[in-house]
Subunit: 251 residues, 3 copies
Amino acid sequence: MIVLYTDFGSTDIYVGQVKGVLAEWAPGVAVVDLAHDLPPFGVRPAAHLLDALARRFPADAVFCCVVDPGVGGPRRGAVLEADGRWYVGPDNGLLSVVGARSALRRTFRIDWRPAHLSNSFHGRDLFAPMCAWIAAGPFPADKLVPTDGLDVQFGPDDSPTIIHIDHYGNALTGLRAGAIDAEAGSALEVAGRRLMPARVFADVPPGALFWYENSLGLVEVAAREGSARASLGLVVGMPVRMVRPGEGAGP
Amino acid sequence: MIVLYTDFGSTDIYVGQVKGVLAEWAPGVAVVDLAHDLPPFGVRPAAHLLDALARRFPADAVFCCVVDPGVGGPRRGAVLEADGRWYVGPDNGLLSVVGARSALRRTFRIDWRPAHLSNSFHGRDLFAPMCAWIAAGPFPADKLVPTDGLDVQFGPDDSPTIIHIDHYGNALTGLRAGAIDAEAGSALEVAGRRLMPARVFADVPPGALFWYENSLGLVEVAAREGSARASLGLVVGMPVRMVRPGEGAGP
Amino acid sequence: MIVLYTDFGSTDIYVGQVKGVLAEWAPGVAVVDLAHDLPPFGVRPAAHLLDALARRFPADAVFCCVVDPGVGGPRRGAVLEADGRWYVGPDNGLLSVVGARSALRRTFRIDWRPAHLSNSFHGRDLFAPMCAWIAAGPFPADKLVPTDGLDVQFGPDDSPTIIHIDHYGNALTGLRAGAIDAEAGSALEVAGRRLMPARVFADVPPGALFWYENSLGLVEVAAREGSARASLGLVVGMPVRMVRPGEGAGP
């Protein structure tokens, strides 16, 4: 399957153009819209969110990733194979968190130009055909040059920031919850507030603010039947901090 | 085909995760997005809208229905077979209008847990695999327990309220138009106004407010080339009342 | 493949109903959402945008086109074959720019009514089945009557207006860039400003306003990492004018 992960806007005219290319070049391959409303210039939060989302997909998935404010400039196109999944997109850091956290990875530079390459829509002209070849074959070995790694690397560390706010108003952070002892009562500092953990929405009263381990394994700020975004004035990029029980306030 | 009917948000990251599961577990089965922007906590209006929408789909359709403010709490998962179509979702009333209006129905409790069940995303972890098995086989008989009926039942009656407002600003009600004599001139009371019926938008002047039998067979409040929502301040849940010719004003 | 081009709203309940029909009547045919958020009553800009978008699709594509404020009124349904692609929709001008610019074209009137034709949703009841037959066969020759041309024709000329504003805030015009000498420095007048051309976003400083030939070959008003819409107060339908070097201000 080919999975689309972009800032093209789900209400706009760009996703359909990419899907037209995929339907022509990779007929019969399932195409899944994972995200199309990522913040247009937010490469770093999108890189962290991609890692959390992608590891739920099967090993044969090919991700077409486009958050690309530098399109038409000097940044290069990259292909990453990481733990069996494939990622195609700009080499601007977007693929780098997945790469840094993978046990097995290979990276390639895209060494191919279509007959007509627009300056502003490499998602359609360059990355979509590449995804089609990787998903449907034949593998485009002659169009890829192995590299030692990605040009731009954000590293494997968690991002102590808000990386996505969903339409319910819940805010996903770049903190993976696995290492945090929620049961011991670690609090999350965000927007000047300290929030306590809960296991699930139904465990707190309506309107209450809390944090919990979400379905992607991330620390998430939430309000039951309410909007944490609106209550706390949250925006993508805002810093968060986990405070262990007994630990003092942050600086 | 599998039909998705949710409040996951068409611009958000949840629908794609469900589709990833379906593409893996039910490859080749068509997946149709019917609604993803239902009001997050509006189980009752969504139950009435589902009945109107679903009966236009063929008998082999499997509906994955998620408006589920109680996810992670005590509410159970249910499967409904109704007049040949299948419905999977929370047993919180969402499936109950379809069920109550069906001539032939069977209900089941979902007696299965995946290896990893999140507390907050049963749509992806529980209902999507169930839909995949029902649509693509083998039928998950060992994972379902027949029940005498749904736990939460809204009954078969019409809902004299606004159940959906579309992006044009037209407001669908939970009144089925079949029993109403529009030609005789029944008026619809809504937001303190009495609106007369029209057959079609082109029959009234631009901007005019009216009601008509919409393409789902429901009474709908509309404005020609304008927004009934904005003109009348309509919101989902607002009461409406049908007034037969000669009948006095409501209480 | 069947390509959907409508004002049905990507967040609403209409696209899914159309896809239900297509999944039943044309199983296995790829369905691509090209646009669903066209301005509801903007037939003319949608006609120009359709021409720019459609010529990127393969010759076997069938376009289901619905911007149809006159649905239920006297306007007829039309089928257009143009340069090998097929277009189905209302005969209100929507298909006419594609038709006027095509070297080879045939036009038909839809001479068929389904058993149940709603007054307000011909996209689902009339145009979707027609698209399914054209895409999946058998060709519905008995349901189409050849005509000498479309009833409403906008002609082949460029439209010196804004025809679409994307979610980044960039504004597409109805001017095809091919005939314009951008390198010579032609300026674009819009909203009382004169904008100079650039080749690509990366060539101008962040926030700068410019025009460029976009990936569809159209003249587009843009701001680097900013919103031209917000900066200039742009709306669909606003006039634009190309000013050649040395040419004076417009009237």
